[in-house]
Symmetry: D3
Subunit: 245 residues, 6 copies
């Protein structure tokens, strides 16, 4: 049940302790994809996963700006400090838990948020009256942050399936040609780059011309199924901290 769209009395009538908080980003995704890509995809996966779950799930509104200073050279990119994102997410989860929705999955759409969300989930789980765990949709379908690219085939496919009107297919070739093949500048498994502008001209990593809406539908379905399964595992889990040895 989406909090934004329902009254407090509707939410009060639920019998669940599960919630999801989509966490996105507003940041460049090349010339062909919208700045809101990561928020749109996080929200789509959160909605679909909550629907697919056998339990009722409270869906919080998406956090729209995340840890994205790495794209600051590209106009329109917004970011907050990692401490700010952690505080915002922690406060949101704490207020969810105040109402009994104290098993929370943070549904993430942006690689730059991964570390901050893992950290704050640990803080919440150990120090607050709630259990929280991050779920990054592209990891759930087998891609990690460095493999997925940026505005590349996976994200572009997912948007083709969910928000085709926000993509500029006429710019896919330009996007690919001005982008890079991989994320970062590596030596001996250390990434020496901190800003994406160090290795991509137009902000793209990967080849969006490979994207298809069928692939996008598959990705969405796969991510939603994974999220539903995670929610069910969270529902069943003993979330208490272990005893001291």
């Amino acid at each position: 049940m989406r909090l934004t769209e329902r009254s407090w009395t509707d939410v009060d009538a639920l019998d669940t302790d599960l919630a999801v908080v989509p966490v996105g980003s507003t940041e460049q995704h090349g010339p062909h994809a919208p700045l809101g890509t990561d928020t749109l995809t996080a929200r789509a996966v959160a909605d679909a996963g909550a629907d697919a779950c056998e339990h009722d799930v409270v869906v919080a509104p998406a956090v729209p700006v995340g840890v994205a200073e790495e794209h600051r050279q590209f106009t329109g990119t917004l970011w907050v400090a990692p401490d700010t994102l952690r505080a915002y997410v922690r406060d949101v989860v704490t207020s969810l838990a105040h109402h009994g929705f104290d098993r929370v999955v943070l549904v993430n759409g942006h690689g730059g948020n991964v570390d901050a969300l893992r950290e704050v989930a640990g803080t919440i789980t150990r120090h607050d009256d709630a259990y929280a765990v991050p779920f990054t949709w592209f990891e759930s379908v087998g891609a990690d942050s460095s493999e997925m690219g940026h505005g590349g085939p996976l994200e572009t496919s997912l948007l083709l399936a969910t928000h085709p009107d926000l993509l500029r297919e006429d710019r896919f070739v330009e996007a690919r040609d001005g982008g890079s093949e991989g994320w970062g500048e590596w030596t001996h498994r250390v990434n020496l780059a901190f800003d994406s502008a160090e290795f991509t001209e137009n902000g793209v990593v990967g080849d969006p011309t490979r994207a298809t809406d069928e692939w996008g539908a598959d990705l969405l379905g796969g991510a939603a199924a994974a999220l539903a399964a995670v929610l069910e595992a969270v529902a069943d889990r003993d979330t208490r901290r272990p005893d001291h040895r």
Copy 2:
């Protein structure tokens, strides 16, 4: 131009220094109105005002959770600490300014955010490389926070005009009957109450049965016109700080 929906190259092509950041809240609005009311209204006014402005205006995504602990006794209400909201908004405005969008109006839909936004706007204007000013839509049409009620005729009218499907008209009478007539518990002009549950049973203040969609359209039009005028005044203003006397 809505950041969420356009590519960075589209935004980069703009010739403007104006931006709006809608700031909402996810909090109880009685049995008849959605928890997202304040975000929905802030976003509607921000979009309409940006459209009505004679200049290009960058529209940031809405900040969906604000200072709403005052409603914490009602299920589904989310809140962040005032410090957290200020940090989040400051970081967002700072990143807008980094791209040259350094005259920013914070379009607010929630009375509980008013003080925090005025404070952070002052901090930004005095200490960062940007000018920011808050605009609370219901103040712009002549109602202050204490007059407007909560889930009352003004907010309900505005939603009738913009999101009628999210209202439960069948609950308007119940909403009115379980609500209170005024905000707070006052003695000698001091409000002794801190939580809305101290003075309203179901969270409502004011009479939503008085709401009409025509009134809502008028409110939206008036607020949008006011916002456009404020944006134009901001565009023309000398935003430098005065010299020491």
Copy 3:
């Protein structure tokens, strides 16, 4: 009983849970009134209100510097960050409550402190073992921050009644002539100004030549009576937070 002037054993002998904390400011008040105006008036009202109250009331020393960066263009104005004022007041109230003086009225003399004090009072009331509420003397007599002016007839009258030696009556005309009639620069109910130097030449708002000591005595009496009534209401109030609905 003024803490500053009595021994701990004297205070320990009291049977009360009521306290007041005067909160002032050190900031320009035009050429005719002292920089300490807001502290002097807050302290005068706090003392008079405590005396007028039917219960014993502990009177803390006045916090002498507040949120006054808005006057920083005028020599001698001191200010602390809003976070600093909140921390200072919160710590003071917490230590009062440690001794059982856990119902506290923050007696405020400065418009710029209003928002910060309301916020910290809410934080204390919800999260600490105390109840706190702000009382701004000029609001209690029917003037809000924007109506009262600055160094204008109300403040000047009050000082005529309490500290006439600190006023320069020979400068009242000059003060009026170099001042402004209203506070701020407004468009569509939005104040675009952040610093008083944007709209007043000498820092004055309002006409101090209208001030009289009789008016000042009336103001002090009215504010003291209001404060005493608020203290009595606070003494009787159920300050526990309401149950979750």
Copy 4:
């Protein structure tokens, strides 16, 4: 020139870069001396020292609550966290420096403030546009924090000279008899006690019956002369940080 009592135009007419900020405490001083002792003495020394100085000196209002949690077992003692005091003092000094009063002596009346003031003075001097140095009046006359006692002969004498009406001479014997001879509980030069209630029954350390008003006048004169000399040394000092070696 005392800021509290003069208009901004008066202060603006000064030709000086020197200021003093009295920093006191509101804390138990036994059954015979007022809780405000440390603020009263700091203010008295600051005023006298500023008067004795050959230069004009801006006198800020006294900071009335300091680092005094060590006395929290005694009713009426107020305290702020060390971080809060540092923030408050730093903000005050920064605003003084904003007007050109950027050589500041922190005139301290309380042993518990010594460490926090030395730290914040270093921070200001190295990182802000000001030079600040703490001056603790009883150190200036040859007594350090542990020697001076608490409510003992030095403080009591000073108050006899400045505020005899606030002392209860009829309780001097009781004060001495219920107090301790020394500060702390020491083993191998380590003080194992953190709270004064660990070693004094009524909060007193030292023998107030030894106090005389003549001694107090001498102490005040000596402290004022020392402060004036320090101010003159500060006026003449090259306060720039040394070059890197």
Copy 5:
């Protein structure tokens, strides 16, 4: 050149801008390996890598406690909050850069530090006058945090090569038998566990009986060579941030 062991004049005579800061942890490593394992290995790799580098390299003392709350159920584990580690490392790097050693590699020995170090390195590189990048020794030889185990064959081998006297070989079998095979409790690529005590009885992950000192020597040599290469790449890199696009 190790800072700890040389005078400031010796360090001053160097002609380099390169430094390494070893960052370790004090945390359980099973019954067979010391709590200091991660500090010892980080220091060993840092020393060897600095020696292998063709440039002079300043070697800071090792930060001995890191982000290790995940092991808090095991006696002797120490940890600091992630914010604390970031502040500590940032301050250390800032002071190195103050002397001109402004290209800094953070040599890390603990998986739990990886995210915090990447974050603080980004903060330093973007906002301070220095460039910093983390290097985690076991990643440099091809193992990521989840593969490496904990007190498993890689760490145990490295200690066999560097500190054999601190290992208890007589407990290797016990260590393996009471440990787990993998790190975490995973569902759909999400690790639902936050504390190691959720999945390992004695704190071990992996099989230390497989460890050999030859393997350890190879690991140390490989890590040192990788670090030397990274240092040389850092020395040659243009570390300025890219221009805005």
Copy 6:
């Protein structure tokens, strides 16, 4: 028992609540003594004192960088902000206490740490589930921070006894000749200097040519005996806070 060198199971077998945390500094000590002097001496005293104590004592790894910005003009000096040191030490002590080692002595080797450690020890003792007290080795043998000098006869003697290989005896004369006789620049018992470079050319205070290894051995023995005695007093002490009076 040194945590760094033993397994968690070894530490778990102890029956004690005593721990020591050495706190050092990495800072200039003249041309003749290593930058690590204060860490080396703190660790040496901590080890010797723990050994001399009749109880088991857990020895944490040394905190290697402290509050030393006062030496920042000398190459190689590292420092953290006082807030950072306090946070680091507090987190370390809190994690020790989590395992039952909740009576902790902070063994300090650096004058610049004294104030910060006393403050954080008070915070821990009053607000956390632990008792902590600082022990500065040179105070324990009768020298306070200002008397001891810097790189002078006491420190140099101690290093002669413990780490003679890290001293450059051939530079002792040069060290003395380029140093100063006393610490600071004093007027009326106020130290107007904040950086050591304001009063010493090469960083030395005092005469290292007076140092002998016999004196060093005596100092170490004396400090170790004092620390052992303090630990025993801490073990026996009622560390609960006193009741409110």
